[in-house]
């Protein structure tokens, strides 16, 4: 009982609702701004990941030996080294590399924003996982369908647009939706390099007000809302994409 009281008392004394109010002196606005930043990074990184994944999967499946080895090295390294280490490595080397290139053209060094760097780094990480998901999905497409397309005289581009892409979609979607859920949570890692997304905003609010439980719980609720809403939408899409497939027992 005394433990419950010692939990509840500081919360009640500080006024949880006032702390979370979106208007100052409440910190809700900061959390929502952080959430918006997180979602911005997640969408950008996911898009880059999708592009890199498409390139990686085509390299692994249709590329020459060199392209295949490069894709293999890329996915192996990214999937074995912690995201946090990759973020630091790419964050520092990426920004200095871009500035080196600019300097060799005689341009002034630019200050790369945390947002752009975060999107780029998480996109490269996502790309490796996208590669594997897309590769697996293309492989589960029956080869007869592609042969049939060839027999009808479709060009490779037509085959891709009419047969491969729509055909692989139901196989790729579960993996792709999982990656979306992963990237929304991976944005939290950018807190470590000091980007003010939701987790860092939360920690700052919590540190200032000392109401740690209130703010971390509130941020957890925000992340959970994003996950659950995404789940709702993604499962609809998955069902729709799989409507032509035979039901699995």
């Amino acid at each position: 009982m005394s433990m419950m009281a010692s939990v509840l008392q500081p919360m009640l004394a500080l006024g949880t609702l006032e702390l979370l109010s979106p208007w100052p002196p409440g910190w809700g606005g900061n959390l929502l701004r952080g959430l918006a930043h997180s979602l911005e990074i997640a969408v950008g990184a996911y898009a880059i990941g999708l592009v890199l994944g498409t390139l990686g999967a085509s390299a692994k499946l249709y590329g020459g030996p060199v392209a295949r080895d490069i894709a293999e090295t890329y996915t192996t390294i990214v999937r074995a080294v912690p995201e946090l280490v990759l973020i630091l490595l790419l964050y520092y080397s990426g920004t200095s590399l871009i500035n080196d290139i600019l300097a060799s053209f005689g341009r002034e060094p630019i200050d790369i924003s945390g947002l752009a760097a975060g999107i780029g780094v998480l996109g490269i990480v996502q790309g490796a996982y996208h590669t594997e998901v897309l590769r697996g999905a293309i492989l589960s497409l029956p080869p007869g369908q592609i042969e049939a397309a060839k027999a009808y005289g479709m060009s490779p581009w037509q085959t891709l647009r009419r047969i491969t892409l729509p055909g692989m979609l139901p196989y790729a979607l579960p993996g792709l939706s999982n990656l979306w859920l992963v990237v929304t949570k991976d944005t939290a890692l950018l807190a470590v390099v000091g980007f003010n997304e939701l987790t860092l905003e939360t920690r700052q609010a919590a540190g200032t007000t000392k109401a740690y439980f209130t703010f971390f719980m509130a941020a957890g609720a925000l992340y959970l809302t994003v996950t659950l809403l995404s789940n709702l939408v993604l499962s609809r899409i998955e069902i729709r994409a799989a409507r032509g497939l035979p039901k699995v027992a």
Partner: protein, 264 residues
């Protein structure tokens, strides 16, 4: 005429592999000769301790997490609603929020709460609760349990019914049925995923550096701060993680190959 197609392809492949290795060797040579490694002897012992701490927290959190995942997965398949519902909620909460947030909630939240409880301050637990590692280990364990329970749920549900019915027909008690038939088959079914999850868990361990635990990641950060070198410690750190991942993948492959292949 010429060589048959197969050997031709192999020689072309190996030719580009040689080139690939050559570039890798060039990079390694450049890294060793042109980069600064004179700090290594000073931090060698610290690095060994850091690697040890990383392995330690990985092994303990995977072991405890897996032990937790078994009942959490099982009650979702066979348990009454008052048990399966909280288990499902636990999985959703863990899988729906970032690990970093969970870690900070436990460390800062509980860490700010415990000092207010007088009897806890006088108890034998207090010296432990003032350190960072119990919170790091707890967060990693719960996280692993949350993800692995989902896998175990699938593995328990995927065990063929006939196996369980045969066990019952032999007159096995529910607990004997569980230990002899259901659990071994479910673990075998989950083993390939378990290897992947362990690699993911290794990649999650550097997060504990954010709550002042001294793992290999934080040793590398310390080198970076002390020597102002950016790439050297990070490259070496990436190499350490690559090697650790390789060991995990190898160990699980060995484990899988030692189990009988035919399941169900």
């Amino acid at each position: 005429m010429g060589a048959p197609n197969g050997t031709d392809a192999i020689s072309w492949r190996s030719a580009h592999r040689v080139l690939f290795l050559f570039f890798l060797g060039m990079f390694a040579f450049y890294a060793i000769t042109k980069m600064r490694w004179d700090w290594l002897p000073d931090y060698g012992w610290l690095a060994v301790q850091g690697i040890w701490r990383t392995i330690w927290v990985l092994v303990l959190s995977v072991t405890f997490g897996f032990a937790l995942a078994i009942p959490i997965g099982l009650v979702q398949v066979t348990g009454p609603r008052w048990l399966s519902w909280p288990a499902k909620l636990f999985c959703t909460l863990i899988r729906g929020t970032p690990l970093l947030l969970q870690l900070w909630l436990l460390y800062y939240g509980l860490g700010s709460l415990f000092p207010q409880i007088p009897w806890l301050r006088d108890s034998w637990m207090w010296p432990f609760l003032r350190q960072a590692w119990p919170y790091g280990l707890l967060a990693l364990t719960l996280s692993f349990a949350g993800y692995e329970a989902e896998v175990m749920r699938g593995a328990f549900a995927g065990t063929p019914r006939g196996q369980l019915e045969a066990g019952r027909a032999f007159g096995m008690s529910p607990s004997k049925l569980f230990w002899r038939i259901w659990l071994p088959q479910a673990v075998q079914r989950a083993l390939p995923t378990l290897g992947g999850e362990t690699v993911l868990q290794l990649k999650a361990t550097p997060l504990v550096a954010t709550i002042t635990m001294l793992d290999i990641y934080s040793v590398s950060s310390k080198v970076r701060q002390d020597t102002l070198l950016v790439y050297e410690p990070l490259l070496l750190l990436a190499l350490v993680y690559l090697v650790l991942t390789g060991i995990i993948v190898w160990a699980f492959k060995r484990l899988e190959s030692r189990l009988p292949v035919k399941a169900g």
